[in-house]
Symmetry: C2
Subunit: 301 residues, 2 copies
């Protein structure tokens, strides 16, 4: 199996291809492409390329660029980074409810001010909206912290460990069913600005909102209003709209928002984290088995 790796030759990925049974090749000679980058610079694909393996979990930029075709198998890295993002999301909830952000902002011993604002995470209910691989990785972590989980997924098929699973058609019911909310849904036309002013108003005023999906799932202006008015306790955002969030944006000035620069899953740690899955997918493709995380072009992710 001849595989082209681009745009760069990362050692972790080179080794994974060889360990899976593949051989590196020029694009014109290859039967498969492993693309460790975004849509910019993505090559014209010869017809003999039967499989394209992307290394990102969120590939809507490839859809928007019209690159995902029906001529071959496409796979993404969905689920590969679930442990990292789950760590981030639970960590983000802890930062918020236990007031690490206030303590860091104070740069002084402000016990009288901060102590009364601390809340425990145990005993609370967290809703995971878009409960796929990341959500499933969060659930045992949340259970260990004494937290109940409510899940929303496309089908409503019960998620192991969730006390209730709602289908996405009933997402509107979830905002009054939980104390805190983690947004982990794919970015599609249906989820654009899923969290708007009405949704923010429906959440408890003690709620923390964590977004690890895509910035556009939250209406930024409505969020700024809700945070200013104290309609929710705070927000932890690893993704923003616009992204990168420009200097001078009002979100930077709010003391109840935690913004991280899209590092729940890091670019720097990506090749090492993805290598085991790549090796397995090379093995599967050579053996004629179904690859992991095959893209469903019709669903848009």
């Amino acid at each position: 199996m001849r595989i082209h790796l681009g745009p760069e030759q990362n050692d972790h990925l080179v080794r994974a291809i060889a360990d899976g049974g593949g051989a590196l090749a020029d694009l014109d000679d290859a039967e498969a492409l492993v693309w460790d980058g975004g849509p910019d610079g993505f090559p014209d694909l010869p017809d003999r390329i039967r499989w394209v393996q992307l290394t990102y979990a969120g590939i809507e930029p490839f859809f928007r660029a019209g690159l995902i075709d029906g001529k071959r198998i496409w796979a993404n890295a969905s689920g590969v980074y679930a442990d990292n993002v789950a760590e981030y999301a639970v960590g983000g909830l802890l930062v918020g409810v236990r007031q690490f952000h206030s303590s860091l902002a104070a740069r002084g011993w402000r016990k009288d001010e901060i102590d009364p604002r601390v809340r425990p995470l145990h005993g609370s209910t967290v809703a995971i909206v878009g409960c796929g691989g990341i959500g499933r990785a969060m659930i045992p972590r949340l259970h260990a912290f004494g937290v109940d989980v409510v899940a929303v997924n496309r089908s409503g098929r019960p998620v192991d460990g969730a006390t209730i699973t709602l289908p996405s058609a009933r997402t509107g019911e979830v905002w009054s069913m939980a104390d805190h909310f983690v947004i982990a849904a794919p970015a599609t036309a249906d989820t654009d600005r899923l969290v708007d002013a009405d949704v923010l108003a429906a959440m408890p005023d003690t709620a923390w909102l964590v977004n690890v999906a895509r910035g556009n799932l939250v209406d930024t202006d409505a969020l700024v209003d809700a945070l200013r008015a104290g309609r929710i306790a705070g927000a932890v955002l690893d993704v923003t709209d616009p992204e990168p969030l420009p200097d001078g944006h009002p979100l930077w000035d709010l003391d109840n928002v935690v913004i991280t620069p899209h590092i729940a899953n890091t670019r720097s740690g990506l090749p090492a984290a993805f290598a085991p899955t790549l090796r397995e997918n090379v093995r599967r493709f050579i053996a004629g088995e179904e690859v992991l995380a095959r893209v469903e072009p019709g669903a848009g992710y």
Copy 2:
């Protein structure tokens, strides 16, 4: 059973005493004292007081003030706040390794700078030095995050869930056995400045140190030196020496330290959190059973 409650009449504690079968009484008429405060203002105890229930977990100020006598039973709140402190400690590790603190300090989108510094918590080993109630509450949380635990306790009797348990006489071996360290030992003469320059030098330079015990268990000057020199990755301190940490102290200026104002267990949430234990101890004392968290005056905690 007549019980005096002081220095103030908190509703949660009043109700817990009644629910446990006790009746509030003046100190001179009482057989037991529930003291929801520090050593300042602690009353002279009539001989008929057979039991003193303190609401703090760390009671070394009472020992220093010479208040703990052998004339009656004393109980503290050890273990009651374990869930809160365990949440804080795991949260603190996540803040550090996943660079929430750097993101918050940046107040701007600094992905190129922060992304390469993020490390996963999963796959690491955390040592809990002083693995009592707080440590036992941490272990299932850490396991859910894919973390192995090494424990140090006084006796070396194996702690459930720890891969290795060392007796405190062998604490010196632990600093090279783990990736990160949580200090949760009681403050005694043996643990004063337990973490000194040599210990900090023995830790991996990628280590995060979390102190949820007492400030004096860490040599502050040695810690400042180690953080400045990058001999460890960072420190999360809920307790400091001196405490409160004064404005202008060098620790405030370091970008790899997270200081919180003694809020792992909050003063504001204490009566509500302690009420169930108080009710149970009132019931036990009336029934002639051993109270929870009886103080061992000889051990100093």
